[in-house]
């Protein structure tokens, strides 16, 4: 059952990556070319998913839009993972006031949801993809810090760490050689789940006009453009949402499946 969800997740995530990769070399039409004579066409042979208010091909826009989602996911998760896991490992290795400081900082950052951070950055520096990536990345730091610290702490209490200490290995060497490899699976699973959340956050920010800026296609902005045309072309408001939901569903299923495959004890408990 669980392996089935892993497979479904892997297939959907594979399709997302394939769509983004394919869009670099081929799209049915150019996503930037406007053709006002062919605006708001229904789905057909010429335009598989129809055209938008500027006559742009919706299928092509969706393919290229996958790139923005993946870009935001990779960089934001990268920021959260690099800084958050680093802080979590530091907290678990040093304990004492360092741990207390890191954890209180993590608590504190929770007060600012990614959207609030993005709003602050947009108010000061203007809206844009880079600011939304930074906002999502910063918001992820405490999540990764907490997960890493909790997992690393349980590794630090194991006998093989004691043996490593007895061999004369230092704190940082033990962290690098023993703790990190043992918590890697937890971090991989967490990264997959945060990737899915980043796609949702990017879509929301782009929908609000704070994320990806024109003319770069993005699923969130396609939805905000479609909303003004709901009475004339309701399907325009359906496709980008289906793309977002399938991408997020795929990554979530992949994360759940990986968790069960990498930690069978969790699977038995469910």
């Amino acid at each position: 059952m669980r392996h089935r969800s892993f497979m479904a997740g892997a297939v959907l995530t594979g399709l997302l990556l394939l769509a983004a990769a394919l869009s670099w070399v081929w799209t049915p039409h150019s996503p930037y070319d406007m053709d006002l004579a062919a605006k708001l066409q229904p789905p057909g042979l010429q335009h598989w998913l129809g055209t938008d208010a500027f006559g742009r091909d919706v299928a092509s826009l969706l393919l290229v839009g996958a790139r923005s989602s993946i870009l935001v996911g990779v960089i934001a998760v990268g920021i959260g993972l690099a800084v958050g896991a680093g802080l979590g490992l530091l907290a678990a290795a040093r304990r004492g006031w360092v741990e207390e400081l890191v954890m209180r900082l993590a608590d504190f950052t929770f007060a600012f949801p990614a959207l609030l951070l993005a709003i602050m950055l947009a108010a000061v520096f203007g809206a844009g993809l880079v600011n939304s990536i930074i906002a999502i990345g910063i918001f992820y730091i405490p999540t990764f810090a907490r997960v890493t610290r909790a997992s690393a702490q349980s590794i630090w209490s194991r006998d093989f760490i004691l043996a490593a200490q007895a061999c004369g290995k230092g704190r940082w060497r033990i962290t690098w050689e023993h703790v990190l490899p043992n918590i890697a699976s937890v971090l991989i699973v967490q990264s997959t789940i945060q990737f899915a959340l980043a796609i949702l956050a990017e879509a929301a920010l782009s929908y609000l006009g704070l994320g990806t800026q024109p003319p770069q296609p993005s699923w969130g902005r396609m939805l905000s453009e479609a909303q003004t045309l709901m009475f004339q072309a309701p399907l325009l408001a359906v496709w980008p949402g289906v793309a977002i939901a399938l991408a997020v569903l795929g990554l979530n299923l992949l994360g759940d499946g990986l968790r069960d495959l990498l930690d069978p004890r969790m699977a038995r408990r469910r």
Binding site: F108, A111, A123, V124, A204, L208, V248
Partner: protein
């Protein structure tokens, strides 16, 4: 209990002060010259300097921070650069929409999630469970603003049961009233709640399953209690700790969600105010709204901590 409360209260105050420093640094120090931002890059230097003096921006940063925080404590949030009216009045007017919307959404979330979570746990690994968790998995993957758009497509465009957006107001003299106002908030609340409920239902299910394996549940069943009575009478209360924790965290998402969903339904709430203020470069409004939302998140999490103690006496006893 006293120590527990004191510790939590101290953390609350420290977090609020920290949040105010971050908001002030980002929105007051980083932009450099707020007067220049407000007047645009082509404004004459004399005019910019005059506006800076008028807004008190020529004073040292620490003094301005002190004045702002002092104002926050007594409810004086300053005057909007653009509207020319007190920020407090603007915010209160918008909160009259955003707070009822968030509360409605949270109530709906709780009812939906607990019902679905307990239903699934009671039918563990049977079709009811698999179906419910499949629905929850889909619910988690759907962006709330897209779900809102789908609701508009179905109930406003197709069936024409609800208006596609706007808010008639709470009072009858403005053409609204409590009933039309609640009706206008119903679709936005459902859009917010369904996605949040999907997450909470999964947490409820696994928490209930954990408690169902405890010995005291077997004892309760052995003394003749029906499964339903044991579930609602004994299991649910013991399963509430993780559920309440996630509810606290979800409230932050919910507030962020209201900002987005208000934009979908063109509701004149706090979210719309923030966006209009960003567009107008009205930084004083943005600063106070962001601080208010951050403070709400922090205070709700404080209340959640207190709720733990009420739900589980072990938390109180350990003096966490």
């Amino acid at each position: 209990m006293g120590l527990f409360l004191l510790k939590r209260f101290f953390t609350l105050i420290a977090t609020l002060i920290g949040a105010s420093v971050v908001v002030f640094l980002v929105l007051e120090i980083l932009p450099g010259n707020a007067a220049q931002m407000l007047m645009g890059p082509d404004a004459a230097p004399e005019a910019v300097a005059a506006l800076a003096t008028q807004l008190g921006l020529d004073q040292p940063a620490l003094q301005r921070y002190g004045q702002w925080v002092g104002g926050l404590v007594v409810g004086d949030l300053g005057t909007s650069y653009v509207y020319g009216s007190p920020v407090r009045d603007l915010v209160l007017e918008r909160l009259a929409l955003t707070v009822p919307l968030a509360v409605m959404a949270m109530l709906l979330t709780t009812v939906l999630a607990i019902t679905a979570g307990v239903y699934a746990a009671a039918r563990h690994n049977r079709w009811g469970d698999v179906g419910m968790m499949g629905l929850a998995q889909i619910g988690i993957a759907i962006p709330n603003f897209w779900f809102a758009i789908l609701l508009i497509l179905l109930f406003s465009v197709k069936l024409q049961w609800f208006s596609a957006g706007g808010f008639p107001g709470w009072t009858e003299d403005a053409g609204g009233g409590p009933l039309p106002a609640l009706q206008a908030l119903l679709l936005p609340a459902i859009a917010l709640a369904v996605v949040q409920a999907a997450i909470l239902a999964r947490i409820t299910r696994s928490a209930v399953l954990d408690v169902l394996r405890e010995d005291f549940v077997r004892t309760a069943r052995a003394k003749g209690l029906s499964q339903r009575a044991a579930l609602w009478g004994h299991v649910l209360r013991n399963a509430m700790i993780p559920v309440v924790t996630v509810m606290g965290l979800q409230f932050a998402n919910l507030l962020a969600g209201t900002i987005v969903v208000e934009n979908v339904f063109y509701l004149p709430g706090l979210g719309r105010l923030i966006f209009q203020s960003i567009a107008n470069r009205d930084l004083i409004v943005v600063r106070n709204c962001v601080m208010l939302l951050a403070a709400l998140v922090v205070v709700v999490n404080f209340v959640v901590d207190l709720l733990y103690a009420a739900i589980d006496p072990r938390v109180k006893a350990s003096g966490l």
